[in-house]
Subunit: 345 residues, 3 copies
C-alpha cells in the first residue's frame, strides 16, 4: 500500500533517452518513460491496453508509440490511433498517461488522481543544476520496503555505529538531541553539535585545523523526499546564529521511490558549494556518501530479513524515534485518507 497522490522521483533526466524508453516500476506501476520530439518527457503505463505487453519494448514513431506485439499505435495522450487490420478503434483502447515533470535533473511522476497533480508541490532541488553547486548522480537499489530506509534517514543515532569511519564521527555526536518539528507535509529535524571533531569525509577534501560546529537540518517530505542542509564551520565562529564563515556546506537531495512492496529505488546527490572547480573533490565527497549508503544498506537489509521472520514483531519506540514515529504516522494517515476518498459514497 503506497501513497498515490504525491510526486515520486522516477529517475535522473539522463536516464530517459532521446529515442527509446526508460522502463521502470514505481509503487508497483510499470512505466514506459520517453521524450517526444519537443524533448518533453511522457510517462505511459508500461502495459498495452490490448494484451498487456510492455510498451517500453515498442517502437517510437514520431510522437507516437507502437506496441511491438500486435502493432497498436498510441499518440502522446495514450489514445490508440491505429489497430492494424481493423478500421474501428474502440474508445477503451488507450493507455494510462501519468503527469510527469522534468525539473532540476529529476523526473517527477504523479501516480494518483491527475487533477491533484500540482507542480508547485514538487520539492525544490535546484542545487542539482545550480552552477554554484556541484555533485555527482547517485543511485542505489534496495531490496527492502522504503519505510525501513526512511527510518534510517530520519535517525541520527545510528551514525556512530553504522558509519564510524565515514559520516559518523565520534560517539558523542550520537548523543546530540535533534529538534523535531512537524511541517505541512512531513517533519523538519534540526541538529547542532558544537565544538566537535570534523568527520573524516570532510577532512579528506577540506581539512579543518581544530574543532567545528556541525549542523544537519533535514526537511523530510512524505513519503520519500529528503532535503538536507548540512555543513560545519570552525567552532565558535557563530554558525548557530547564522554566520556561516569559512563554512563547508552541503545540500543533500535524496529521493526514495518504492518499486515493489519490498524493493526501493534510491536517488541521491550531495551538492557542495566549495572547490566546485575540482572534480576530484566532488568525486571524493560522492564516494564517501556511496560508501556510507552501502553501510546503511547492509544493516537495513539485515534488519528486513529478521523482521520478515516474524510477522508479529513489534518494534519498541524510543525517544530517538520521535521523528520517524511522526513520519510513519503521516504516511499511514495519508494512505487512509486516499482509501477513504476512493470508497463509494
Amino acid at each position: 500500500m503506497f501513497i498515490k497522490n504525491c510526486w515520486y522521483v522516477a529517475g535522473w533526466d539522463k536516464e530517459v533517452p532521446q529515442d527509446g524508453f526508460l522502463s521502470r516500476t514505481i509503487a508497483n506501476m510499470p512505466l514506459a518513460i520517453w521524450r517526444d520530439s519537443h524533448n518533453k518527457v511522457i510517462a505511459f503505463e508500461d502495459r498495452c491496453c490490448h494484451r498487456g505487453a510492455p510498451l517500453s519494448k515498442g517502437r517510437r514513431e514520431g510522437d507516437c508509440v507502437r506496441c511491438m506485439y500486435h502493432g497498436l499505435k498510441f499518440d502522446v495522450k495514450g489514445i490508440c490511433i491505429e489497430i492494424p487490420s481493423q478500421p474501428r478503434i474502440p474508445p477503451q483502447a488507450k493507455v494510462r498517461v501519468f503527469p510527469v515533470v522534468e525539473k532540476h535533473r529529476w523526473i517527477w511522476i504523479w501516480l494518483g488522481d491527475p487533477s491533484l497533480a500540482d507542480e508547485s508541490l514538487i520539492p525544490d532541488t535546484h542545487w542539482l543544476d545550480d552552477p554554484a553547486w556541484r555533485s555527482n548522480d547517485g543511485y542505489i537499489h534496495y531490496d527492502v520496503n522504503y519505510l525501513l530506509i526512511a527510518d534510517n534517514l530520519l535517525d541520527f543515532s545510528h551514525l556512530p555505529y553504522v558509519h564510524p569511519t565515514t559520516l559518523g564521527g565520534t560517539e558523542d555526536y550520537a548523543k546530540v538531541q535533534p529538534k523535531v518539528e512537524r511541517t505541512d507535509r512531513g517533519v523538519k529535524i534540526t541538529r547542532w553539535a558544537l565544538n566537535i571533531d570534523p568527520p573524516a569525509f570532510v577532512q579528506k577534501v577540506h581539512p579543518f585545523e581544530g574543532k567545528v560546529d556541525r549542523w544537519n537540518i533535514y526537511d523530510f517530505i512524505a513519503p520519500g523526499i529528503l532535503l538536507m542542509d548540512s555543513g560545519m564551520a570552525p567552532a565558535g565562529t557563530g554558525a548557530p546564529e547564522g554566520n556561516r564563515v569559512n563554512a563547508v556546506e552541503f545540500r543533500g537531495c535524496q529521493a526514495l521511490s518504492p518499486e515493489h512492496d519490498n524493493s526501493t529505488h534510491y536517488f541521491f546527490a550531495h551538492p557542495h558549494n566549495f572547490a566546485i572547480d575540482r572534480p576530484d573533490v566532488t568525486d571524493s565527497i560522492h564516494q564517501s556518501v556511496v560508501t556510507a549508503f552501502d553501510e546503511d544498506r547492509e544493516i537495513v537489509e539485515a534488519q528486513q530479513a529478521m523482521v520478515a521472520l516474524d510477522p508479529n514483531f513489534k518494534m519498541v519506540n524510543l525517544g530517538i524515534d520521535a521523528a520517524l514515529s511522526q513520519f510513519r504516522w503521516i504516511v499511514s494517515r495519508a494512505i487512509e485518507q486516499e482509501n477513504k476518498s476512493a470508497e463509494p459514497a
Copy 2:
C-alpha cells in the same frame, strides 16, 4: 486449473529411453514415462504411493519398476507386487497409470478419466514421420501459462511486429482478415494473402522470382494442439482455388502442454514436402522457426511479467482477437464442465 480429459503431448518418442525413465510434469502431474520389454510406452504417476519418492529415480526390473527409496516393486499396471520385509500388500498400494499412446513421433498422455481416453481423438500429425515430408524436432520451455502462448499462436497480427525479418514479411500481411470458424474441438482459421512478397525464411531455401499467394490454414484443437497447413505459390496460379502448382508447402505441428501454472512445454516441427533430400534445407527452415519462436517467447514472457504486476488487469478485446476469444471460451467451458461432472450428485 487445466483440462484433464484431453490428449497432451508428453514428449518426443526419442525422449523415452529403452532403459530408465523420462521424468516430466504435465499439468502439475509428475510423470515417470518408460518402455516395457515390448517397447510399449508406460506412464506412471512419478510419486510412489508409499512416501511420495519419484519412481523416475527407481530401477527397472524387467517389466516392473522398483522404487529406490524403500524398495516397493510395481508391475506394468502400477500394482505393488512386493514390499521388502512384509508379506502382506495392502490393496491401496498402487500407483496411478495413465493412458498413453505413441503415435507419429509424439507421446500422447491422458490425465483425466481413463474411460474417456479415446485414441481416435488424437490429432493427426502423420507428417512427422511420413517419408514424403521432412522436419527437425523442436522444443522450447516457456515460463508462462500456456494460454498466453495459445493467444500468440491464434493471432496473425503480431507477425510483422514480432517477426519482421523472419516469418512476418511486410506489414500489409498483418492487415489480411482471417476467416475464423468454430470446429468440434476448437477453431479453424483461414487466411489468404494474395500477390504479396514471399517471406524471408522461404526465399532462403526456395526463392520465388515474383509475388506469391500465401495461405495459413490453422486447425487449433483445445487446449493446445495446432496443425497448420501453410505455404505459398506463384501469384495468380490458382492456389486459392486449390491448384497448388509450383507451391511450397508446410504442415506445422505444434503442441502446448502446460507444465505448472506458469510454465509450459512447447513441442513443434515444421514439415516441408520439397527438397526432402536436402538436410540443409530442413535445417534452415527449422532454424528460421526456432528464431521466430524465440522472438515470440521474448515478448510473451515480457507480457506475462507486466500482467502479473496487476491481478486486476483487464485486456481490451479487439476484432483481431476473435479466434483467441473463442478459444479461451472453449477452454473455460471445458474446465467448467469437467468440474461439474466431478461434483457429487
Copy 3:
C-alpha cells in the same frame, strides 16, 4: 508448527566463537549465540527489540552486546542498559534470552517456556567427548521439513536401496523385522540381523573374516534426537545375549533441528570405540557416513519436491512404517498440547 518445549541442538561447541557470534535460526527463531567472559554460552533472540536489526552483527563489549544499528547495549540477561542520547530506558527494552546448555560438544537450546527447561531432559551424548570413543563432527543442511528426515532415520527398509554400496549391505538385511517400542519421549527400535555379511564401510577399517551378527538399537527422542547403539560381532559369538566379544561398536549421535518450515540443520557424529588412536579409521568411518547421508539427502529432497506438487497427496502406511507412524503421532500430540496450554483459560 514446531515443538517449542524441548531441547534442540543449535550447533557444535566450536561454532560459538570466543568473540563475536554464531548466527543461526532454529524453528524460525533467529538466534545470536555467544560466550561471556566466563566462557558461558548465551543465546539471544537475534533481533534487537528496538527496530529488529540482528544483534549477531553487533559488538561485544565485555559481557554486554551492543546493537550496531542504533547503539542499544544489552547485558547478559538481555536487558537494555544503555540507549545513546536518551537517559530513560523503557522497561520493555529487552531482548529474549533462551535457556542454553553446552554439554558433550553440543549447544542445546530451549525455545519454549523457560520454567520447563529441565537440563536433565537433555539426551546423553557423552560419546562425543568420551576419551574412549572417537568421531568427527558432521553437519548437513537439508532443504526439506525435518519430519521427512526423521522418517528416513526411523526406517531401515531403505538401506539396501538408497545405500547399497555404503551402509546398506545385502537386500536380506532389509527384510529383518525391527522391534518397535514406545518410550517416554519417543520410540525405541531394536533390530538384529544374524549371520550376515558385514557392511562395506566396516570392512574397510576392520575386516571380518566371516559372517557377523549385526545390531542397530535406536533411541529416537522427539522431535529430533537419535541415539544409536550399533555394531557387529563374529556370527554366533553371543552378541544378541550381550556378549560383545571381538565386536565393533558405534554410538551414532544425530540431531535434527528445524531451521525454517522447509529446511533443517542436521548435526551428527558416529563415535567408534576401536582403533581410537588411528585418525585414518575415524576419517574413513566419517566419510562413509557423510557419503550415505548425501544419498539420503538426494532421495529425500526429491521426495519433498514430488510431495509439494500435490497438497492432497496421502501416503500409504505400511508395516515397515510402524516406528515413524508412532513418532509422527507423538510429535503431533506434543504440538497439540502446547497449543492447548497456550490458549486463554
